[in-house]
Amino acid sequence: MQSTTKNAVDYNSVGLKVGIEIHQQLNTKCKLFCKCPTTHRDQEESNFQFFRYLRSKKSEMGEVDKAAVEEVKRSKRFIYLSYDTTCLVESDEEPPREINMEALELSLLIAKMLHMNVVDEVHVMRKIVIDGSNTTGFQRTALIAFDGWIDVGEKIGIATLCLEEEACRKIEDRGSEVVYSLDRLGIPLVEIGTKPDIKTPEMAKKVAAKLGMILRSTGKVKRGLGTIRQDVNISIKDGARVEIKGVQDLDILDKIVEYEVIRQISLLKIKEELIKRGAKVDKKIYDVSEVFKNTKSKILKKAKSVMAIKLEGFSGLVGKEIQPNRRLGTEFADIAKTFGLGGIFHSDELPAYGISEKEVEEVKKRLEAKEGDAIILAAGESERVKKALSRIIERAEQCLLGVPEETRKANEDGTTSYLRPLPGAARMYPETDVPPVKITEEMLKLEIPELIENRAKRYEELGLSKDLALMVAESQFYKLFEEYVKKLPATVVARVIYTVPTELRKEGYDINVLEEKHYRIVLKLIADGKIAKEGAGEVLKKMIENPEMSEEELINSVGGQSGLKELETFIDDLLNEKEELIKERKMGAFKPLMGEVMKVFRGKIDGKVVAEVLKKKLEVKTNIK
């Protein structure tokens, strides 16, 4: 097929508008609304579990959220894993505590770094989320600041900054039940939303990178996989606003924007074609279980029921590619999956998957389908199939209108899958269990930390390469770098705290056991001349094997006879041995002697130290004589 995926898109003429929402976990001591630690736990460590169902409720404004209603239709069972580091607040068995001031202050600092206006009084809201990821059925969130900007060559507006609680970690989706872990629930999170000022995929990536850098510059945000997530809002002219959730990998952000533009353009083309054909959707759901009584399709055979719908004039379009390897039919399958079904079959791909030509014909006959019509088949428990198909009928009708507004999930390859309808603004009401907090002048007196990018520039001036400077500036041990760069060359310190550990990690060593104190010992040993700078790797390896080893033990364990005492004994012996030479050449004997000593101590004790000791001892010796 002729594909839009390969043609370059002129983003200006399609009217691309992108806004980014960044969710960053904060590295505070306690959670946002209880005193539990913000530590990650393995699910095996869970000591208790329980389950709940959720129901959607009217908000204080009397409206019910559309996204919330769809979730309730599915009525899943949510299983929660509890730990010795979680309490009744996470379990929704106790009212929340007052808002964590450490988290609030940090969010104020970030607001200031983004040049934002802070609200006079912070009100915590309940944002309805009934996919089970919050035990309460809502996420507690508060609007902290609005109207800021960042500079990425051009000024991009920052619309809002919210402080909210992180949701549960999803462990397993079993279709009708979902398992969640409570360890993550309640970790403070800042949500930063840009204005839709971003006009190209590249700019989207740049903005996300800059925001991430600013957040890390506080030194108080969580690092590592899953601690930062991007949501992207994308729209084009005549298209619709689509929210893409959970982009964890910054590197594919531009691709996601690119592919979404392609998807919307493709859907608009499909719409044109459908209108030209006079297509329409038959709203009836047909039970065709009988047709597949003796089918060779394993999926259909074991299904409790098989049902079909008819999309008049859709033939050939259901199989049309709208993103790389994704067709319109894939969108329908996504919907089926949200209802706990495996997917769908559509007539553009049939016969196949064990479904025979005859069976397809029989279904078409029963549905009175004509030449240009498409058929969608779904199988499973009949209530679920009916619900899923009626939702697919709705979706097919939207094809005649263009692009539906919806929330989508980011896939690893940059494509996206349907998740749920776009949530409306009606999903919030006040969290009355948490009192509002007045923001005082005092609270806003915050010192802005140095940005990582500025720090990196400074490090470059100290003689580090551009890349290395950035890495060291990003490092959690940058303060150690600053301390030791006064005593050692910048390249040496950078080697110890960044280059060497990175090499060790590649060799398979678990460098996560190394803490600041370990790097400090290594730097101290080098600065004191007790080990050579080349010996850092050896010492770090020993530390990884046994993180509790003392400084003394470490010196002894690397190179065995190293250490100043050994050096001195060796030199004393050498000087006695070479008495003739010394008598003859006086201080001139230094060079050959140095060569002898270095043969033994190279890589163990710094040459400068060796020279110093040797020189001192040689002077004594020559003076005596």
Binding site: R55, E60, D92, P95, E121, H123, A425, K438
Partner: protein, 419 residues
């Protein structure tokens, strides 16, 4: 001018904001912005004010002749709550019809009639409310197959006891509440209500409390009203049967009751009868080391006729109290219960106990102190002193068990039986 509920446009921080004015407790102007968030402003200028239409939802109920009729009497509490615009707090605001609109599953179990009798917090309940409620339930029982009373959980067990003594019932009287406010998706209100409807239409003829059995949404327990206590401030499974086991449990998803206690009062077993007099001059006093008996004299002086003592261990108070007890027991009734909660009172083991019995104290057996209090109100309201004394140690409605058992083992046995 009160702007609450109106849509306004304001200028603050150099920007225009639009939103609906929400209640504020701090004097700030709280706006619900279009993005859903509430934000408080102290420094602002109002540009425009606009009235907005109130959205009202009404539910009308249609009757299914196949199903039994049940009356829901609402007294307020968390099971029927909503955000209050005036204070910003969660309060009892729903009418009883709204409860049914909220939990449509009820219509699959029974035909529901609903009445909002009170809209009060359960800590504001008093004896007069109990009496009015008992009369209301009594007349409902003539028409309906069962009665459900939605009630704040704090004093639900007291009300259950009061109804149990006042009404001899041939049908179920079910008290139900919620520990998580019903405005939230995770509320236990709906499940508790569905389970109480199943109980109200079951083979039962007594007053019970139906609430979550565990922290999960798996099943509810049917607790005997005179044997139950709220044992946790916040958990869903706060209600426990004390010195007894629950009468049964209800599987929420299967909508099925499993009975644990076979010799419960069954449907139609008793005649409907109302004895709604209560003596209010009855007091419950918790003893602690060093408490002086003056407290007894104070109440005696105020004309109190009934005293429930919550003593230590097997049922003791300081020997200092004996003279005063001797004095007032001539024209008063004094019941001894234990602050241990679990177990039976026995004043024949130690000297103090024997002196107390001699002084006129009557052992409250294995009754909960608050149940003894309500029982004493009822006894003194309906019988003369000598008769009342006779009934204290007699089991009237299930408040006293014949023998003390390993209740917790019995319960875990029943629970493991069908696993």
């Amino acid at each position: 001018m009160d702007l609450t509920g109106k849509k306004v446009k304001i200028k603050a921080k150099g920007k225009i904001f639009e939103g609906i004015v929400m209640p504020s407790v701090t004097g700030s102007l709280v706006l619900k912005l279009d993005n859903g968030y509430n934000v408080g402003f102290f420094d602002y200028e109002i540009l425009e004010i606009e009235e907005i239409e109130k959205i009202e939802s009404k539910t009308s109920l249609t009757k299914n002749p196949e199903l039994p009729d049940v009356k829901i009497i609402s007294t307020g509490g968390t099971i029927a709550s909503k955000v209050d615009y005036k204070t910003g707090a969660v309060t009892s605001q729903f009418t009883a019809e709204e409860i049914v609109g909220d939990v449509p599953e009820l219509a699959e179990i029974c035909n529901v009639d609903a009445e909002l009798l009170y809209n009060i917090l359960s800590e504001n309940m008093n004896v007069k409310h109990w009496i009015e409620l008992a009369r209301n339930v009594y007349s409902a029982l003539k028409k309906y197959e069962g009665v459900i009373i939605t009630h704040g959980t704090d004093t639900m067990a007291y009300t259950a006891s009061a109804l149990a003594f006042m009404i001899s019932t041939p049908k179920p009287i079910v008290l139900v509440g919620a520990q998580r406010s019903s405005d939230r998706p995770s509320s236990d209100a709906a499940m508790n209500l569905i389970c109480s409807a199943l109980t109200a239409t079951s083979d039962l003829g007594e007053v019970v409390v139906v609430m979550h059995a565990t922290t999960s949404d798996d099943y509810c327990y049917i607790h005997r009203g005179v044997k139950v206590r709220k044992c946790h401030t916040s958990r869903r499974d706060a209600f426990k049967s004390i010195n007894f086991i629950p009468l049964g449990k209800i599987d929420y998803m299967k909508r099925k009751i499993e009975w644990f206690v076979q010799d419960r009062f069954k449907r139609g077993e008793r005649e409907l009868e109302l004895k709604d007099k209560m003596e209010e001059k009855v007091v419950l006093i918790k003893f602690y080391p060093g408490l002086k008996p003056d407290i007894l004299e104070y109440y005696y002086g105020k004309g109190y006729k009934g005293f429930v003592l919550e003593g230590t261990g097997l049922g003791h108070v300081s020997t200092e109290w004996i003279d005063v007890i001797k004095k007032i027991s001539e024209d008063c009734l004094i019941i001894m219960t234990s602050q241990c909660i679990w177990g039976r009172v026995c004043d024949r083991v130690y000297d103090t106990g024997r002196y107390l019995l001699k002084a006129g104290v009557i052992e409250g057996e294995d009754m909960l102190p608050e149940v003894a209090l309500v029982k004493l109100m009822w006894l003194l309201g309906n019988y003369d002193l000598e008769e009342a004394k006779k009934y204290v140690k007699e089991n009237l409605v299930g408040e006293i068990t014949q023998s003390t058992k390993y209740w917790e083992s019995m319960l875990s046995f029943f629970n493991s039986k069908n696993k």
